[in-house]
Symmetry: C2
Subunit: 125 residues, 2 copies
Amino acid sequence: MEYNTGLPIYLQVIHELKKRMVKGELRPGEKMPSSRDLAVEFKVNQNTAARIYREMEQAGYCYTRRGIGTFVSEEENMFEELKQEMAGELLTNFMHEMRDLGFKKEDIITRITVYKEDEEHDAGV
Amino acid sequence: MEYNTGLPIYLQVIHELKKRMVKGELRPGEKMPSSRDLAVEFKVNQNTAARIYREMEQAGYCYTRRGIGTFVSEEENMFEELKQEMAGELLTNFMHEMRDLGFKKEDIITRITVYKEDEEHDAGV
DNA sequence: ATCAGTGATATAGTTAGATAGTACACTAGT
DNA sequence: ACTAGTGTACTATCTAACTATATCACTGAT
């Protein structure tokens, strides 16, 4: 995983883990990597890994059992809701930014229609 | 202007100023606010304001004349290019994130088609 | 009882971002 | 010459994020 400049790493990892849940790569009730393994996988300190699970547990996405591990929440419905929520956030942010740049809805739809997979752009300052 | 948690303030201000250039609110050659005024307007320290102009100048979006002020670049073409570049970044990021969540192009177009102005969503962890 | 794997906690140190305050140097207008 | 407005520079301080390292406590299996 490559990290964005600016946004704190632990937030980026949380986002990545939430995506895995939404995509079903982490199933409800399934055991998540130990904090030590998470630290290795994401090349992060154990304290940071612990923070990631602490914050995710507080948000309800997982629960921990001391001495056993951290597990994906068993609230089956949560993840479909989360998927819609994340999509909604992406959409509104995207639309606001595009409108702010002066694009209209039709412009945006046109751009997406002609959008090709391999388009890449620089990330200038 | 309200600031995002996470992303450094100076990057958010730079983004805002770039948008103003793209939208024509800051015209080529026009004098930009003094670093002191910028600090006041964005409720930011003078050092941060100075950094904002320093980085923007390095990126070519403006130039400074000591004792006079900071001015929007006179490269007329730059800003239409910048507009396209920023739109391209927004689009690819958006598409990648949506695909990553499991949405297909048709799903995305449908969502945008039914998108209403006033949609709002929480910014959960 | 022991042990490996786990989460939880603690201390210390580094770095980047941001602030506060001050001072210096240049430019234009008077 | 003087002054106001400007960019530039410096020191000091603060906080959040992150790392390094180590220790403790709990759980399950042997």
